[in-house]
């Protein structure tokens, strides 16, 4: 048993070195890791499109286009509508561009909730240990026992179909992975010398947690946040696809739902329903790429492969 503890301590100090370097790693790995860089570029690209959507999109995404007085419905790609039009005569390309807005909104706010709740739960549980830890970890177990998609559906049906309710429902569950990981890191960090010195110097728990421990686990939390970003965008799309989405937001999931229920599949309007899926895929991939980079921070041993 004692030997095991010793072994554990050995691992801890290794981890500590990794953590100490993690802030500089956090910025460096984007430079060094090509994959992480690609992930970051995709995120930035979507962000820029979201900001400049009105400038880039040739039409209003809701506008039913008329040419020579006739509605142009179910058009294939042509010179005026590069991805064609929907069954209501709306420009698919413009919808795709505007779809970046809810994606960014959902991704960033869900990631924020995940980082905030996950970090707080992990910090408090790992720092205070004992009963507080047991209680918080049982709560985390419960969160792991709730099926994600069904929960979001039920809660959104209950609270009403809006982007914020979808984000809230996702945030209420997605923190669970972050909390577990952060907690185990806090358990390691709190045993370090500088925490002990701070305690001896009479620093309050509050100060130790936020001043001394948080900076060491924040990079890790942010990486989990970046994974959550892609995951949240994917889920929002799925929920919108099922018809529980925000009816006023033109999201990629809404576009796919719209295409699905208006027989775009049987008409073979590939230019309508293929692009939104590719957009979602790229964003999720970006999360994976950044997450893959994070493995290098956490488990440098894997670098050899």
């Amino acid at each position: 048993m004692e030997q095991m503890i010793e072994e554990q301590k050995g691992k801890d100090s290794e981890l500590y070195i990794i953590l100490k370097n993690s802030w500089s790693n956090f910025f460096n790995f984007f430079k060094e890791d090509r994959f992480a860089m690609v992930g970051l570029i995709i995120y930035l690209f979507v962000g820029i499109i979201a900001i400049f959507a009105p400038v880039i999109a040739p039409y209003d995404p809701h506008e039913m286009l008329r040419y020579d007085g006739e509605y142009r419905t179910n058009a294939g790609p042509n010179s005026e509508n590069i991805l064609g039009t929907t069954n209501m005569g709306r420009d698919v390309f413009s919808q795709l561009i505007y779809g970046a807005r809810p994606a960014v909104l959902v991704g960033v706010s869900a990631a924020f909730m995940v980082v905030l709740i996950g970090t707080l739960v992990g910090l408090v549980a790992g720092y205070y240990r004992g009963k507080v830890d047991t209680f918080l970890m049982r709560v985390t177990d419960v969160a792991f026992g709730i099926p994600f998609e069904p929960f979001v559906i039920v809660l959104v049906a209950f609270l009403g179909p809006s982007i914020w309710n979808i984000v809230l429902a996702m945030g209420l569950l997605l923190w669970r992975d972050t909390a577990r990981v952060i907690r185990s890191q806090v358990l390691v960090v709190r045993e370090r010398g500088f925490v002990e010195s701070a305690r001896v110097a009479g620093a309050s728990n509050f100060r130790i947690i936020f001043r001394h421990i948080t900076p060491n686990i924040l990079p890790l939390a942010l990486l989990y946040g970046s994974l959550a970003m892609g995951w949240a965008i994917l889920t929002e799309a799925a929920i919108s696809f099922l018809g529980f989405g925000d009816p006023s937001a033109v999201s990629w999931g809404f576009m796919l739902n719209d295409a699905f229920v208006s027989q775009a599949l049987s008409r073979g309007s590939y230019s309508w329903f293929v692009p939104p899926g590719i957009c979602i895929m790229l964003v999720v991939m970006a999360g994976f790429y950044i997450g893959r980079g994070s493995e290098k921070i956490l488990y440098p041993r894997m670098n050899q492969y």
Binding site: M1, M4, R138, D141, V142, F144, G145, I146, P147, F148, E149, P150, F151, I153, V154, L155, A157, F158, G230, L234, A237, A238, F241, L242, G243, F244, L256, A259, F260, L265, S266, G268, Y270, F273, V274, P276, G277, I280, M281, L282, V284, M285, F288, M302, Y305
Partner: protein
């Protein structure tokens, strides 16, 4: 396996189930509007409405409803569906087999193929075959399931007309029994698109896990020894390598099965697959609370149980967890 660990873990599982059931009760009871709105005909008189409320036990105080709900749950009684006017348990029993067929079929194929390709990717590490394979795997992991389903539907069902677009049987026809269903070729035609969509998504995890485990194992001396002894490539791959890497994959599979039953709501809806996930979506849309609640609970219970199985498997993998008393 430590018995105390097992008992404590079972206790934890029951506690989690109870808390989830309680949360669910309050979510559904606190829903705004009359829970019977979908059920009550506008022509009903106030007395008739009162009578209905009484029948469903909705006239009692909340805490009393909670105790009745819990007592019923313990007996496996999930109430009456507002919409189908039938017992929730029997409605679910009708659709549950479909969900299980889809899952078992997809998981078996996805894991067999995933393990196979994982081993091959590890063996041919650094080759073009591996690079292309890994990119393809990444695509399977990040493409939205429902979108993959849509593309497949557009191509194989609507464009070529090779496969049906949804359901489990042709319009108007029915299977006489579950056995009849499983032995009819027709059923597999309906199963193939949703199963392929699910396999497409599931294959990535066992593949990547197997690959990284194999990479660990391949460097070991006994594999080197086997190579030197001149054993065939495939014998080394599967007898020496894969055997050691299989348990983590099995653990991942247990967790994966648990998560997939929740995620199935989407695939089942795309393909109108009459399973528990689609039942949940339809019940929520129709404000059929007892049915939605029942379907949610079954999905949650299944997931909690699979997490439990995964933990036990994990305990086998790493004896420190079960012997060392958790923390």
């Amino acid at each position: 396996m430590n018995w105390m660990y097992l008992l404590r873990r079972i206790g934890q599982m029951i506690l989690t189930l109870w808390v989830v059931a309680t949360i669910l009760f309050f979510i559904f009871r606190l829903m705004p509007g009359n829970p019977l709105a979908a059920y009550i005909d506008p022509t009903f008189t106030a007395e008739q409405q009162q009578e209905l409320m009484r029948q469903f036990g909705l006239d009692k105080p909340l805490w009393e409803q909670y105790f009745i709900y819990m007592a019923n749950l313990l007996q496996g009684e999930l109430g009456q569906s507002f919409f189908y006017k039938d017992s929730v348990t029997s409605i679910m029993m009708n659709v549950l087999p479909n969900t299980i067929y889809l899952m078992v079929f997809s998981f078996v194929i996805a894991y067999v193929l995933g393990i196979l390709f994982g081993v091959l990717f590890a063996w041919y590490r650094g080759s073009k075959f591996e690079t292309i394979g890994l990119i393809a795997t990444l695509i399977t992991r990040s493409a939205p399931q429902f979108w993959v389903g849509m593309v497949l539907l557009a191509i194989f069902s609507f464009h070529f007309g090779w496969l049906p677009s949804g359901g489990v049987s042709a319009a108007g026809s029915q299977y006489n029994s579950e056995w009849d269903k499983l032995t009819s070729l027709e059923f597999y035609k309906f199963l193939s698109l949703p199963a392929f969509t699910l396999i497409f998504y599931l294959i990535g995890l066992p593949l990547l896990l197997m690959r990284s485990n194999m990479l660990d194992v391949l460097g070991d001396t006994y594999v080197e020894m086997a190579k030197m002894r001149g054993l065939s490539k495939y014998r080394i791959m599967f007898k020496y390598g894969a055997r050691n890497a299989a348990l983590p994959v099995l653990t991942a599979m247990a967790v994966g099965i648990g998560y997939t039953i929740g995620g199935n709501v989407i695939i089942e809806t795309v393909f109108s697959w009459p399973g528990i996930g689609r039942l949940l979506v339809n019940a929520v849309t129709a404000s059929d609370y007892p049915l939605a609640q029942g379907a949610f609970l079954v999905i949650a219970a299944f997931m909690i149980f699979m997490n439990f199985v995964a933990d036990l498997l994990y305990g086998l993998l790493d004896p420190k967890i079960s012997a060392g008393g958790g923390k």
